[in-house]
């Protein structure tokens, strides 16, 4: 059973639109949710993260919205650019845990 689930394998948006990537999780003990961005030929890179005490985390064009009751979260990429085309992984871990559980990833395509 997948503990972290990303609802879309692939998402295509036009340049300038807001891309919304959705994620849900099973384990109520998870309290740290990083999002990683991966370009072809590279390893995943930490993009933005949120802890469960918050319901929103913003960093430039990237915002995480978190709903603890529903056990889901989303990554919003405002004003999407072709350079944002990449695979985005939602991940989760619980307090003091080293094991980060990754979703299968969403391939984002931003069309010019």
């Amino acid at each position: 059973q997948q503990q972290v689930r990303q609802s879309s394998q692939s998402l295509t948006v036009w340049e300038g639109e807001t891309a919304i990537l959705n994620c849900s999780y099973e384990n109520s003990a998870f309290d740290y949710f990083p999002w990683y961005q991966q370009f072809p030929g590279e390893g995943p890179a930490l993009l933005i993260a949120i802890r469960s005490v918050s319901d929103k985390k913003e960093d430039g064009r990237f915002t995480i919205f978190f709903n603890k009751r529903e056990k889901n979260l989303s990554l919003h990429i405002k004003d999407s650019q072709p350079g944002d085309s990449a695979t985005y992984f939602c991940a989760a871990s619980d307090t003091n845990a080293y094991k980060v559980i990754f979703g299968k990833g969403t391939h984002l395509h931003v069309l010019p």
Binding site: Y32, P34, Y36, G41, E42, G43, P44, A45, L46, A49, F89, S93, A97, Y98, K99, V100, F102, G103, K104, G105
Partner: protein, 114 residues
């Protein structure tokens, strides 16, 4: 400030041969992780070292895979008698002390077993 370094970036082996993958974590980081990435399975945890000690190898296929961390500056993942199903990208990540949930990944080694 170099990130995690992995060598080689690409490796092609014949079925039954041995493959050794190298990882140099970020200087000062205390934790090292190995993952395997495939299209079908995504990112799979393999093993984890803290301060060079093996902590969790629950993701490692028991028979042919082994990992070591002989010193704080490098770790190796060895696959004996490689099989075509071992073909994947093997990723190494490191974390700073007390923030092991924040992992910094290397570029990976793409292993192809023919």
């Amino acid at each position: 400030n170099a990130g995690v370094i992995q060598t080689p970036r690409h490796k092609v082996t014949g079925k039954g041969q041995e493959a050794t993958l190298w990882c140099e974590p970020i200087s000062g980081h205390s934790a090292v992780f190995w993952y395997r990435q495939t299209i079908v399975q995504g990112l799979e945890f393999l093993t984890y070292f803290r301060n060079q000690a093996p902590i969790d190898d629950s993701g490692m296929p028991k028979e042919r895979f082994s990992a070591q961390m002989p010193n704080q500056s490098h770790s190796t993942l060895k696959i004996q008698s490689t099989q075509p199903q071992d073909s994947a990208v093997y990723l190494c990540a490191s974390s700073p002390r007390d923030r092991e949930d924040t992992q910094y990944f290397g570029p990976g080694t793409r292993l192809l077993v023919l």
